[in-house]
């Protein structure tokens, strides 16, 4: 649809951050990478598709923010020192930050599709996608939803263990 095409039309590159293993630093790296790119003068957004354990809002100190609507869909939360990093995470949609999201695959897939097509990202040089551990529903759905756009590639994070 026209709306789907327009919400990601202004995004120049999409970067997936993956690992397989949990706890190796995907969210930490995604956040630092976004900040580094911003320092280099780029427009950056972060899409946090870790639905069970969203860490990015807390890392950027915006865990108490709310998401608003506009005509093209959801407005991302702007984080970082200059409030210039566009961020979307399930963390903003929960009633309490410690509320548990205990969902099966199909429900997760539906929300990820919405995060990809219904968020008004605007013009971004880079959209960094932080994923949960594993190689499951979230990963399959994210890649499928992003396939029509210019998926730049994926970065793999690991520890030496």
């Amino acid at each position: 649809t026209l709306a789907e095409r327009s919400n990601l039309a202004g995004v120049r590159h999409i970067l997936l951050v993956l690992s397989g293993k949990g706890g190796v630093g995907k969210s930490t790296l995604s956040t630092e990478l976004a900040l580094a790119l911003q320092n280099a003068g780029k427009k950056v957004g972060i899409l946090d598709v870790d639905l069970c354990g969203p860490s990015i809002p807390r890392m950027l100190r915006v865990q108490d923010s709310a998401v608003h609507q506009c005509d093209s869909g959801w407005v991302p939360v702007f984080a970082g020192q200059d409030k210039a990093i566009a961020l979307m995470s399930i963390g903003f949609l929960l009633e309490r930050p410690d509320e548990a999201v205990v969902w099966r695959g199909p429900k997760k897939n539906a929300l990820i599709k919405q995060f990809v097509t219904d968020v008004a990202w605007g013009d971004l040089d880079f959209l960094i996608v932080d994923t949960p551990p594993g190689t499951s529903d979230e990963h399959i759905s994210t890649v499928e939803a992003l396939r029509p756009y210019q998926l730049l590639g994926a970065i793999l994070v690991t520890t030496p263990q």
Binding site: G20, K21, G22, G23, V24, S27, C52, G53, S55, R58, M59, P97, D98, E99, A100, V101, V102, W103, R104, G105, P106, K108, P132, P133, G134, T135, S136, D137, H139, I140, T159, Q161
Partner: protein, 263 residues
């Protein structure tokens, strides 16, 4: 009158919704099931599960202990227990668990190549978990320790809806983002009516091997504070020690190889 009408409506709704859910049935021969979970990845669930299983067996040599690796995507148990190979089938077509250090183990890792990824959606994962629970010849076990994957999704739901669980142990590091996820893990077990036995604070402190100076790399006492908030016990406090990681990577878990150490 209207409130009893509301209650009747709620009961009817609950009955209709539960018709699609699997019926909870204990695994034949298994007395008690303990799950080790966290919510957060990489905090030491598998390490803790392996050492709990070994400690249970070491504390009482008359008890039979089993270890199930329910982490379909990233099975760590085979490496940690130094086990490899495809399970044999019994005449009744059940998989025979692989044994080491006296513990009967089953894992997705025995059914696939070490480096093969499992890129499956929830439904396939559910059926794999069912097979790992019920199509294994566990024999008579006093304890079955189940190592869960990170998160609060399909696997956790499938396991808790399929079998009665005696209790859950939640592992976390003291770091804020880990505690957030551990809290969600605890709430998940509350939602599915599984008793939480307590929390384990892992990677609590690092002691320099040279000068013995202690650093709380992931923060100090975060798990103790969370335990207080949730009204749970701290079951253990484990330091970040190179021995624990080394012995796990080499398949000789620290409880077996260095029973006298601080870890």
């Amino acid at each position: 009158s209207s409130s009893s009408g509301d209650e009747a409506l709620r009961d009817k709704r609950a009955r209709i919704l539960s018709r699609g859910l699997p019926k909870q049935k204990p695994i034949e021969g298994v007395k008690q099931v303990v799950v080790v979970a966290s919510g957060k990845g990489g905090v030491g669930k598998s390490t803790t599960a392996v050492n709990i299983a070994l400690a249970l067996a070491a504390n009482d040599s008359t008890k039979e202990v089993g270890l199930l690796d329910a982490d379909i995507y990233g099975p760590s148990i085979p490496k940690m227990m130094n086990l490899k190979g495809n399970p044999e089938l019994t005449p009744k077509n059940l998989m025979r668990p692989l044994k080491n250090y006296g513990i009967a183990c089953m894992s997705m890792g025995f059914l696939i190549e070490e480096t093969a990824p499992v890129v499956w959606r929830g439904l396939m994962v559910m059926s794999a978990v069912e097979k790992l629970l019920r199509q294994v010849d566990w024999g008579e076990l006093d304890y079955l320790v189940i190592d869960m994957p990170p998160g609060t999704g399909d696997v956790q739901l499938s396991v808790s809806q399929n079998i009665p669980i005696a209790g859950a142990v939640i592992v976390s590091t003291p770091q804020d983002v880990a505690l957030l996820d551990a809290h969600k893990g605890a709430e998940m077990f509350r939602k599915v009516h599984v008793p939480v036995l307590g929390l384990v604070q892992n990677m609590s402190v690092f002691q320099c091997p040279k000068c013995k100076h202690e650093t709380h790399i992931f923060g100090a006492d975060g798990v103790r504070d969370l335990a207080k908030t949730l009204g749970l016990d701290i079951l253990g406090d484990v330091p970040l020690h190179v021995n624990i990681r080394e012995t796990c990577d080499s398949g000789q878990p620290v409880v077996i190889s260095q029973p006298q150490s601080d870890a």
